[in-house]
Amino acid sequence: MTDEPLLRVTALSKYYGSRIGCEDISFDLWPGEVLAIVGESGSGKTTLLNCLATRLLPTSGTASYRMRDGQWRDLYRMSEAERRFLMRTDWGFVHQNPADGLRMTVSAGANVGERLMAVGDRHYGNIRSTAVDWLSRVEIGEERIDDEPRAFSGGMRQRLQIARNLVTGPRLVFMDEPTGGLDVSVQARLLDLLRGLVTDLGLAAIVVTHDLAVARLLSQRMMVMKNGHVVEAGLTDRVLDDPRAPYTQLLVSSILQV
Protein backbone atom coordinates (compact mmCIF):
# COMPACT_ATOMS: atom_id res chain seq x y z
CA MET A 1 0.00 0.00 0.00
CA THR A 2 1.33 3.41 -0.94
CA ASP A 3 1.81 6.10 1.64
CA GLU A 4 0.17 8.72 -0.54
CA PRO A 5 -3.45 9.01 -1.59
CA LEU A 6 -4.45 9.01 -5.23
CA LEU A 7 -7.09 11.69 -4.94
CA ARG A 8 -7.39 14.47 -2.40
CA VAL A 9 -10.64 16.38 -2.16
CA THR A 10 -10.88 19.50 -0.02
CA ALA A 11 -13.98 21.54 0.80
CA LEU A 12 -15.63 20.87 -2.51
CA SER A 13 -18.92 22.68 -3.09
CA LYS A 14 -21.19 23.00 -6.08
CA TYR A 15 -24.16 25.35 -6.16
CA TYR A 16 -26.80 25.60 -8.82
CA GLY A 17 -27.66 29.24 -8.31
CA SER A 18 -28.71 29.41 -4.69
CA ARG A 19 -29.50 25.71 -4.54
CA ILE A 20 -26.93 23.38 -3.04
CA GLY A 21 -25.65 20.58 -5.25
CA CYS A 22 -23.13 19.40 -2.73
CA GLU A 23 -21.36 21.34 -0.02
CA ASP A 24 -18.03 21.21 1.79
CA ILE A 25 -17.00 17.69 0.84
CA SER A 26 -13.51 16.54 1.84
CA PHE A 27 -11.92 13.13 1.66
CA ASP A 28 -8.85 11.25 0.47
CA LEU A 29 -8.92 8.19 -1.74
CA TRP A 30 -6.01 5.76 -1.71
CA PRO A 31 -4.87 3.49 -4.54
CA GLY A 32 -6.89 0.30 -4.68
CA GLU A 33 -9.61 1.67 -2.44
CA VAL A 34 -13.29 1.56 -3.32
CA LEU A 35 -15.43 4.33 -1.92
CA ALA A 36 -19.21 4.14 -2.14
CA ILE A 37 -21.29 7.31 -2.12
CA VAL A 38 -24.84 6.46 -1.10
CA GLY A 39 -27.95 8.55 -0.72
CA GLU A 40 -31.33 8.98 -2.31
CA SER A 41 -32.12 10.83 -5.53
CA GLY A 42 -31.28 14.51 -5.14
CA SER A 43 -28.85 13.92 -2.28
CA GLY A 44 -26.03 15.40 -4.35
CA LYS A 45 -24.13 12.18 -4.88
CA THR A 46 -24.17 12.40 -8.66
CA THR A 47 -23.26 16.10 -8.57
CA LEU A 48 -20.27 15.19 -6.42
CA LEU A 49 -19.28 12.36 -8.75
CA ASN A 50 -19.50 14.62 -11.79
CA CYS A 51 -17.39 17.27 -10.08
CA LEU A 52 -14.76 14.69 -9.17
CA ALA A 53 -14.71 13.30 -12.69
CA THR A 54 -14.38 16.92 -13.98
CA ARG A 55 -17.59 16.58 -15.92
CA LEU A 56 -18.81 19.53 -13.85
CA LEU A 57 -16.79 22.40 -12.44
CA PRO A 58 -17.35 22.92 -8.71
CA THR A 59 -18.18 26.35 -7.36
CA SER A 60 -15.37 26.17 -4.82
CA GLY A 61 -12.92 23.74 -3.31
CA THR A 62 -10.10 21.69 -4.79
CA ALA A 63 -9.44 18.16 -5.94
CA SER A 64 -5.88 17.02 -6.57
CA TYR A 65 -4.87 13.86 -8.36
CA ARG A 66 -1.56 12.09 -8.19
CA MET A 67 -0.52 11.44 -11.80
CA ARG A 68 1.34 8.34 -12.92
CA ASP A 69 4.62 10.24 -12.67
CA GLY A 70 3.90 10.98 -9.00
CA GLN A 71 3.14 14.67 -9.58
CA TRP A 72 0.09 16.17 -7.89
CA ARG A 73 -2.19 18.11 -10.20
CA ASP A 74 -5.15 20.31 -9.36
CA LEU A 75 -7.92 18.82 -11.48
CA TYR A 76 -9.68 22.12 -12.00
CA ARG A 77 -6.55 23.91 -13.17
CA MET A 78 -5.55 21.38 -15.77
CA SER A 79 -6.03 22.25 -19.41
CA GLU A 80 -8.97 20.64 -21.11
CA ALA A 81 -6.60 18.62 -23.30
CA GLU A 82 -4.83 17.17 -20.26
CA ARG A 83 -8.11 16.45 -18.54
CA ARG A 84 -9.55 14.66 -21.53
CA PHE A 85 -6.35 12.68 -21.91
CA LEU A 86 -6.55 11.67 -18.25
CA MET A 87 -10.17 10.63 -18.69
CA ARG A 88 -9.42 8.24 -21.50
CA THR A 89 -6.24 6.75 -20.10
CA ASP A 90 -5.84 6.77 -16.32
CA TRP A 91 -9.54 7.13 -15.52
CA GLY A 92 -12.73 5.35 -16.39
CA PHE A 93 -16.34 6.39 -16.14
CA VAL A 94 -19.09 3.78 -16.04
CA HIS A 95 -22.48 5.31 -16.73
CA GLN A 96 -25.72 3.92 -15.37
CA ASN A 97 -27.10 3.76 -18.89
CA PRO A 98 -24.57 1.92 -21.05
CA ALA A 99 -25.77 3.83 -24.12
CA ASP A 100 -24.24 6.96 -22.56
CA GLY A 101 -20.83 5.36 -22.34
CA LEU A 102 -20.78 3.24 -25.48
CA ARG A 103 -20.81 3.97 -29.18
CA MET A 104 -23.96 2.12 -30.04
CA THR A 105 -23.34 2.05 -33.79
CA VAL A 106 -19.88 0.56 -33.84
CA SER A 107 -18.93 -3.02 -33.00
CA ALA A 108 -18.08 -4.30 -29.53
CA GLY A 109 -14.46 -4.76 -30.61
CA ALA A 110 -14.18 -1.15 -31.76
CA ASN A 111 -15.82 0.05 -28.55
CA VAL A 112 -13.11 -1.68 -26.56
CA GLY A 113 -10.37 -0.70 -29.00
CA GLU A 114 -11.23 2.99 -29.20
CA ARG A 115 -9.16 3.99 -26.19
CA LEU A 116 -6.18 2.08 -27.55
CA MET A 117 -6.47 3.85 -30.88
CA ALA A 118 -6.87 7.15 -29.04
CA VAL A 119 -3.50 6.67 -27.37
CA GLY A 120 -1.84 5.85 -30.68
CA ASP A 121 -2.16 2.09 -31.12
CA ARG A 122 -2.01 1.55 -34.88
CA HIS A 123 -1.80 -2.21 -35.19
CA TYR A 124 -5.17 -3.72 -36.06
CA GLY A 125 -4.19 -7.26 -35.04
CA ASN A 126 -2.98 -6.17 -31.61
CA ILE A 127 -6.00 -3.99 -30.99
CA ARG A 128 -8.29 -6.84 -31.91
CA SER A 129 -6.56 -9.42 -29.74
CA THR A 130 -6.60 -7.03 -26.78
CA ALA A 131 -10.32 -6.53 -27.41
CA VAL A 132 -10.90 -10.29 -27.45
CA ASP A 133 -9.02 -10.61 -24.19
CA TRP A 134 -11.05 -7.88 -22.51
CA LEU A 135 -14.35 -9.16 -23.81
CA SER A 136 -13.56 -12.54 -22.28
CA ARG A 137 -12.66 -10.91 -18.98
CA VAL A 138 -16.13 -9.41 -18.87
CA GLU A 139 -17.60 -12.72 -20.01
CA ILE A 140 -18.53 -11.75 -23.54
CA GLY A 141 -17.71 -14.44 -26.08
CA GLU A 142 -15.27 -13.75 -28.90
CA GLU A 143 -18.01 -14.53 -31.44
CA ARG A 144 -19.81 -11.33 -30.40
CA ILE A 145 -16.82 -9.06 -31.11
CA ASP A 146 -18.22 -7.72 -34.37
CA ASP A 147 -21.77 -7.22 -33.10
CA GLU A 148 -23.02 -3.78 -32.24
CA PRO A 149 -24.01 -3.11 -28.64
CA ARG A 150 -27.53 -2.49 -29.93
CA ALA A 151 -27.77 -6.26 -30.28
CA PHE A 152 -26.67 -6.83 -26.67
CA SER A 153 -28.78 -7.29 -23.54
CA GLY A 154 -28.61 -4.67 -20.78
CA GLY A 155 -26.21 -6.72 -18.69
CA MET A 156 -23.91 -7.38 -21.64
CA ARG A 157 -23.91 -3.72 -22.58
CA GLN A 158 -22.88 -2.81 -19.07
CA ARG A 159 -20.09 -5.38 -19.11
CA LEU A 160 -18.95 -4.03 -22.47
CA GLN A 161 -18.88 -0.53 -21.06
CA ILE A 162 -16.68 -1.77 -18.23
CA ALA A 163 -14.26 -3.47 -20.62
CA ARG A 164 -14.13 -0.32 -22.77
CA ASN A 165 -13.10 1.65 -19.68
CA LEU A 166 -10.57 -0.78 -18.27
CA VAL A 167 -8.63 -1.54 -21.44
CA THR A 168 -6.06 1.19 -20.83
CA GLY A 169 -5.41 0.02 -17.26
CA PRO A 170 -6.85 3.05 -15.45
CA ARG A 171 -6.05 3.62 -11.80
CA LEU A 172 -9.33 5.32 -10.93
CA VAL A 173 -12.82 4.46 -12.12
CA PHE A 174 -15.98 6.44 -11.46
CA MET A 175 -19.21 4.50 -11.49
CA ASP A 176 -22.67 6.01 -11.50
CA GLU A 177 -25.21 3.39 -10.37
CA PRO A 178 -23.39 0.68 -12.32
CA THR A 179 -26.09 -1.91 -11.62
CA GLY A 180 -29.10 0.37 -11.84
CA GLY A 181 -31.73 -0.69 -14.32
CA LEU A 182 -30.61 -4.32 -14.44
CA ASP A 183 -32.51 -7.43 -13.36
CA VAL A 184 -31.54 -8.74 -9.95
CA SER A 185 -29.81 -11.86 -11.27
CA VAL A 186 -27.93 -9.83 -13.90
CA GLN A 187 -27.02 -7.35 -11.18
CA ALA A 188 -25.50 -10.07 -9.01
CA ARG A 189 -23.35 -11.32 -11.86
CA LEU A 190 -22.17 -7.82 -12.72
CA LEU A 191 -21.38 -6.99 -9.13
CA ASP A 192 -19.41 -10.15 -8.73
CA LEU A 193 -17.51 -9.44 -11.92
CA LEU A 194 -16.80 -5.85 -10.86
CA ARG A 195 -15.65 -6.99 -7.46
CA GLY A 196 -13.24 -9.46 -9.03
CA LEU A 197 -11.86 -6.93 -11.50
CA VAL A 198 -11.41 -4.25 -8.86
CA THR A 199 -9.50 -6.67 -6.63
CA ASP A 200 -7.38 -8.21 -9.39
CA LEU A 201 -6.43 -4.90 -10.97
CA GLY A 202 -6.02 -2.99 -7.71
CA LEU A 203 -8.37 -0.31 -9.02
CA ALA A 204 -9.45 2.64 -6.97
CA ALA A 205 -13.10 3.40 -7.55
CA ILE A 206 -15.78 5.84 -6.54
CA VAL A 207 -19.16 4.21 -6.84
CA VAL A 208 -22.36 6.19 -6.60
CA THR A 209 -25.30 4.00 -5.67
CA HIS A 210 -28.56 4.10 -3.81
CA ASP A 211 -28.28 0.37 -3.23
CA LEU A 212 -26.64 -0.46 0.09
CA ALA A 213 -26.05 -4.05 -0.98
CA VAL A 214 -23.93 -2.78 -3.87
CA ALA A 215 -22.00 -0.58 -1.45
CA ARG A 216 -21.48 -3.52 0.94
CA LEU A 217 -20.22 -5.84 -1.75
CA LEU A 218 -17.95 -3.44 -3.62
CA SER A 219 -16.64 -0.86 -1.21
CA GLN A 220 -14.38 -0.67 1.80
CA ARG A 221 -15.47 2.82 2.72
CA MET A 222 -18.63 4.76 2.26
CA MET A 223 -20.07 8.23 2.54
CA VAL A 224 -23.76 8.78 3.16
CA MET A 225 -25.15 11.94 1.58
CA LYS A 226 -28.30 13.89 2.22
CA ASN A 227 -29.27 17.31 0.90
CA GLY A 228 -25.80 17.87 -0.50
CA HIS A 229 -23.94 17.06 2.70
CA VAL A 230 -22.06 14.03 3.94
CA VAL A 231 -24.00 12.94 7.03
CA GLU A 232 -21.89 9.91 7.85
CA ALA A 233 -18.67 8.39 6.57
CA GLY A 234 -16.48 5.49 7.52
CA LEU A 235 -15.77 1.83 6.95
CA THR A 236 -18.58 0.34 4.94
CA ASP A 237 -19.39 -2.43 7.41
CA ARG A 238 -19.17 -0.01 10.33
CA VAL A 239 -21.61 2.42 8.72
CA LEU A 240 -24.01 -0.34 7.72
CA ASP A 241 -23.83 -2.42 10.94
CA ASP A 242 -23.69 0.49 13.37
CA PRO A 243 -25.31 3.42 11.59
CA ARG A 244 -25.26 6.56 13.71
CA ALA A 245 -26.77 9.41 11.78
CA PRO A 246 -30.58 9.43 11.80
CA TYR A 247 -30.66 9.37 8.01
CA THR A 248 -28.30 6.39 7.78
CA GLN A 249 -30.42 4.51 10.29
CA LEU A 250 -33.44 5.22 8.15
CA LEU A 251 -31.63 4.02 5.01
CA VAL A 252 -30.39 0.83 6.65
CA SER A 253 -33.77 0.05 8.21
CA SER A 254 -35.50 0.60 4.89
CA ILE A 255 -33.82 -2.35 3.20
CA LEU A 256 -36.31 -5.06 2.40
CA GLN A 257 -35.34 -8.37 3.95
CA VAL A 258 -35.77 -11.35 1.66
Binding site: M1, W30, E33, A188, R189, D192, R195, L217, Q220, R221, G234, L235, D237, R238, D241, D242, R244, A245, P246, Q249, L250, S253
Partner: protein
Amino acid sequence: MATPLIVSEVAKAFTMHLRDGIRLPVVSNVSFSVRAGECAVLGGPSGAGKSSILKMVYGNYGVDQGQIIVDHHGQLVDLATANPRTVLAVRRDTIGYVSQFLRTVPRVSALDVVAEPLVARGVARDEAHARAAELLGRLNLPERLWSLPPATFSGGEQQRVNIARGFITDHPVLLLDEPTASLDATNREVVISLIEEKKLKGVALLGIFHDADVREAVADRIVDVTEFAAGKIAA
Protein backbone atom coordinates in the same frame (compact mmCIF):
# COMPACT_ATOMS: atom_id res chain seq x y z
CA MET B 1 6.70 -7.71 23.84
CA ALA B 2 3.62 -5.53 24.06
CA THR B 3 0.30 -7.01 25.02
CA PRO B 4 -1.45 -7.71 21.69
CA LEU B 5 -4.87 -6.39 22.75
CA ILE B 6 -5.90 -3.98 25.50
CA VAL B 7 -9.47 -2.82 25.94
CA SER B 8 -9.73 0.11 28.29
CA GLU B 9 -12.83 1.82 29.72
CA VAL B 10 -14.84 1.29 26.60
CA ALA B 11 -18.48 2.32 26.53
CA LYS B 12 -21.10 1.78 23.84
CA ALA B 13 -24.73 2.73 23.45
CA PHE B 14 -27.10 2.70 20.51
CA THR B 15 -29.16 5.80 19.80
CA MET B 16 -32.29 4.85 17.92
CA HIS B 17 -33.15 7.95 15.94
CA LEU B 18 -36.11 6.28 14.33
CA ARG B 19 -37.65 5.67 17.74
CA ASP B 20 -37.58 9.20 19.05
CA GLY B 21 -33.88 9.02 19.76
CA ILE B 22 -34.03 6.57 22.64
CA ARG B 23 -30.65 5.59 23.87
CA LEU B 24 -29.97 1.91 24.47
CA PRO B 25 -26.85 1.53 26.59
CA VAL B 26 -24.95 -1.67 25.79
CA VAL B 27 -21.79 -1.76 27.85
CA SER B 28 -19.70 0.69 29.76
CA ASN B 29 -16.31 0.71 31.38
CA VAL B 30 -15.17 -2.39 29.53
CA SER B 31 -11.57 -3.06 30.52
CA PHE B 32 -9.55 -6.21 29.91
CA SER B 33 -6.55 -7.37 27.95
CA VAL B 34 -5.52 -10.48 26.10
CA ARG B 35 -1.95 -11.73 26.24
CA ALA B 36 -0.10 -13.55 23.51
CA GLY B 37 -0.78 -17.29 23.58
CA GLU B 38 -3.90 -16.85 25.67
CA CYS B 39 -7.54 -17.52 24.89
CA ALA B 40 -9.89 -15.18 26.71
CA VAL B 41 -13.56 -15.98 26.54
CA LEU B 42 -16.31 -13.40 26.94
CA GLY B 43 -18.87 -14.83 29.33
CA GLY B 44 -22.37 -13.82 30.31
CA PRO B 45 -25.97 -14.33 29.21
CA SER B 46 -27.41 -13.34 25.83
CA GLY B 47 -27.82 -9.60 25.50
CA ALA B 48 -25.02 -8.82 27.90
CA GLY B 49 -23.00 -7.26 25.04
CA LYS B 50 -20.47 -9.98 24.22
CA SER B 51 -20.97 -9.71 20.49
CA SER B 52 -20.91 -5.91 20.64
CA ILE B 53 -17.52 -5.99 22.35
CA LEU B 54 -16.15 -8.35 19.73
CA LYS B 55 -17.47 -6.14 16.95
CA MET B 56 -15.96 -3.02 18.51
CA VAL B 57 -12.59 -4.76 18.69
CA TYR B 58 -12.91 -5.60 14.98
CA GLY B 59 -13.89 -2.02 14.16
CA ASN B 60 -17.27 -3.18 12.99
CA TYR B 61 -19.11 -1.18 15.66
CA GLY B 62 -18.20 2.34 16.61
CA VAL B 63 -16.87 3.04 20.10
CA ASP B 64 -18.38 5.87 22.15
CA GLN B 65 -15.72 6.12 24.82
CA GLY B 66 -12.46 4.50 25.84
CA GLN B 67 -9.63 2.89 23.93
CA ILE B 68 -8.97 -0.36 22.15
CA ILE B 69 -5.23 -0.65 21.77
CA VAL B 70 -3.81 -3.21 19.42
CA ASP B 71 -0.20 -3.95 18.65
CA HIS B 72 -0.03 -3.48 14.88
CA HIS B 73 3.44 -4.19 13.51
CA GLY B 74 4.96 -2.97 16.78
CA GLN B 75 2.89 0.23 16.72
CA LEU B 76 0.13 0.74 19.25
CA VAL B 77 -3.04 1.67 17.42
CA ASP B 78 -6.23 2.86 19.11
CA LEU B 79 -9.02 1.25 17.10
CA ALA B 80 -11.63 3.41 18.82
CA THR B 81 -10.33 6.45 16.98
CA ALA B 82 -8.37 4.99 14.05
CA ASN B 83 -9.28 6.10 10.54
CA PRO B 84 -10.86 3.56 8.19
CA ARG B 85 -7.64 2.96 6.31
CA THR B 86 -5.81 2.03 9.49
CA VAL B 87 -8.62 -0.28 10.54
CA LEU B 88 -8.40 -2.01 7.17
CA ALA B 89 -4.64 -2.42 7.56
CA VAL B 90 -5.10 -3.82 11.07
CA ARG B 91 -7.68 -6.28 9.76
CA ARG B 92 -5.42 -7.36 6.97
CA ASP B 93 -2.35 -7.97 9.09
CA THR B 94 -3.19 -8.04 12.79
CA ILE B 95 -6.75 -8.95 13.73
CA GLY B 96 -8.53 -11.95 12.24
CA TYR B 97 -12.20 -12.63 12.71
CA VAL B 98 -14.33 -15.75 12.51
CA SER B 99 -17.93 -14.62 12.39
CA GLN B 100 -20.99 -16.69 13.08
CA PHE B 101 -22.27 -16.40 9.56
CA LEU B 102 -20.54 -16.49 6.28
CA ARG B 103 -21.32 -13.58 4.01
CA THR B 104 -21.27 -15.46 0.75
CA VAL B 105 -20.29 -13.92 -2.51
CA PRO B 106 -21.95 -15.44 -5.56
CA ARG B 107 -19.77 -17.45 -7.92
CA VAL B 108 -16.65 -17.51 -5.74
CA SER B 109 -15.54 -21.05 -4.86
CA ALA B 110 -15.08 -22.23 -1.27
CA LEU B 111 -11.37 -22.67 -1.90
CA ASP B 112 -11.06 -19.08 -3.10
CA VAL B 113 -13.11 -17.80 -0.17
CA VAL B 114 -10.71 -19.49 2.24
CA ALA B 115 -7.54 -18.52 0.36
CA GLU B 116 -8.58 -14.91 -0.13
CA PRO B 117 -7.11 -13.42 3.10
CA LEU B 118 -3.72 -14.91 2.21
CA VAL B 119 -3.90 -13.64 -1.37
CA ALA B 120 -4.81 -10.19 -0.02
CA ARG B 121 -1.60 -10.31 2.00
CA GLY B 122 0.46 -11.06 -1.07
CA VAL B 123 0.83 -14.85 -0.84
CA ALA B 124 0.97 -16.55 -4.23
CA ARG B 125 -2.37 -17.96 -5.33
CA ASP B 126 -1.09 -21.54 -5.62
CA GLU B 127 0.40 -21.55 -2.17
CA ALA B 128 -2.72 -19.95 -0.71
CA HIS B 129 -4.85 -22.61 -2.39
CA ALA B 130 -2.65 -25.38 -1.01
CA ARG B 131 -3.02 -24.08 2.53
CA ALA B 132 -6.75 -23.56 2.06
CA ALA B 133 -7.09 -27.14 0.84
CA GLU B 134 -5.17 -28.44 3.84
CA LEU B 135 -7.44 -26.60 6.29
CA LEU B 136 -10.65 -27.61 4.54
CA GLY B 137 -9.37 -31.17 4.61
CA ARG B 138 -8.73 -31.02 8.34
CA LEU B 139 -12.22 -29.65 8.84
CA ASN B 140 -13.63 -32.62 6.88
CA LEU B 141 -15.29 -30.55 4.18
CA PRO B 142 -15.84 -33.00 1.28
CA GLU B 143 -13.40 -32.22 -1.50
CA ARG B 144 -16.15 -32.17 -4.12
CA LEU B 145 -17.47 -28.97 -2.49
CA TRP B 146 -14.21 -27.02 -2.65
CA SER B 147 -14.71 -25.71 -6.13
CA LEU B 148 -18.33 -24.69 -5.50
CA PRO B 149 -19.57 -21.37 -4.16
CA PRO B 150 -20.61 -21.87 -0.52
CA ALA B 151 -23.99 -20.14 -0.97
CA THR B 152 -25.81 -23.46 -1.29
CA PHE B 153 -23.87 -25.24 1.49
CA SER B 154 -25.53 -26.37 4.73
CA GLY B 155 -25.04 -24.26 7.86
CA GLY B 156 -22.31 -26.58 9.18
CA GLU B 157 -20.47 -26.61 5.86
CA GLN B 158 -20.59 -22.85 5.58
CA GLN B 159 -19.34 -22.53 9.12
CA ARG B 160 -16.33 -24.71 8.37
CA VAL B 161 -15.48 -22.61 5.31
CA ASN B 162 -15.73 -19.59 7.55
CA ILE B 163 -13.46 -21.12 10.20
CA ALA B 164 -10.87 -22.12 7.62
CA ARG B 165 -10.92 -18.58 6.25
CA GLY B 166 -10.34 -17.17 9.75
CA PHE B 167 -7.62 -19.60 10.74
CA ILE B 168 -5.60 -19.62 7.53
CA THR B 169 -3.63 -16.47 8.29
CA ASP B 170 -1.18 -15.89 11.12
CA HIS B 171 -2.84 -12.81 12.53
CA PRO B 172 -1.48 -12.16 16.05
CA VAL B 173 -5.02 -11.49 17.32
CA LEU B 174 -7.96 -13.72 16.44
CA LEU B 175 -11.58 -13.01 17.29
CA LEU B 176 -13.98 -15.96 17.39
CA ASP B 177 -17.73 -15.39 17.38
CA GLU B 178 -19.26 -18.78 18.21
CA PRO B 179 -17.19 -20.68 15.67
CA THR B 180 -18.54 -24.06 16.78
CA ALA B 181 -22.24 -23.20 16.90
CA SER B 182 -23.40 -25.49 14.12
CA LEU B 183 -20.67 -28.11 14.15
CA ASP B 184 -20.81 -31.81 15.03
CA ALA B 185 -18.59 -33.30 17.75
CA THR B 186 -15.80 -34.37 15.40
CA ASN B 187 -15.42 -30.96 13.86
CA ARG B 188 -15.71 -29.25 17.26
CA GLU B 189 -12.64 -31.25 18.25
CA VAL B 190 -10.83 -30.06 15.13
CA VAL B 191 -11.61 -26.46 16.02
CA ILE B 192 -10.41 -26.99 19.59
CA SER B 193 -7.11 -28.32 18.31
CA LEU B 194 -6.81 -25.45 15.82
CA ILE B 195 -7.25 -23.03 18.72
CA GLU B 196 -4.60 -24.89 20.75
CA GLU B 197 -2.17 -24.58 17.83
CA LYS B 198 -2.83 -20.86 17.60
CA LYS B 199 -2.11 -20.48 21.29
CA LEU B 200 1.17 -22.33 20.90
CA LYS B 201 2.11 -19.91 18.15
CA GLY B 202 1.53 -17.01 20.55
CA VAL B 203 -1.73 -15.77 19.06
CA ALA B 204 -4.02 -13.81 21.37
CA LEU B 205 -7.55 -15.19 21.03
CA LEU B 206 -10.76 -13.55 22.15
CA GLY B 207 -13.95 -15.51 21.71
CA ILE B 208 -17.56 -16.17 22.46
CA PHE B 209 -18.50 -19.82 22.98
CA HIS B 210 -21.97 -20.85 24.01
CA ASP B 211 -20.96 -24.49 23.93
CA ALA B 212 -19.78 -25.17 27.49
CA ASP B 213 -17.56 -28.11 26.49
CA VAL B 214 -15.63 -26.09 23.96
CA ARG B 215 -15.40 -23.14 26.31
CA GLU B 216 -14.06 -25.43 29.00
CA ALA B 217 -11.49 -26.87 26.63
CA VAL B 218 -10.06 -23.65 25.23
CA ALA B 219 -10.60 -20.85 27.75
CA ASP B 220 -7.63 -19.70 29.76
CA ARG B 221 -9.72 -17.00 31.30
CA ILE B 222 -13.36 -15.89 31.33
CA VAL B 223 -14.07 -12.16 31.01
CA ASP B 224 -17.42 -11.67 32.69
CA VAL B 225 -19.31 -9.22 30.55
CA THR B 226 -22.03 -8.65 33.18
CA GLU B 227 -19.37 -6.67 35.04
CA PHE B 228 -19.59 -4.13 32.24
CA ALA B 229 -23.37 -3.81 32.24
CA ALA B 230 -24.17 -0.30 31.16
CA GLY B 231 -25.13 1.99 34.00
CA LYS B 232 -23.19 0.00 36.52
CA ILE B 233 -20.67 2.24 38.18
CA ALA B 234 -17.24 0.76 38.47
CA ALA B 235 -16.39 0.14 42.08
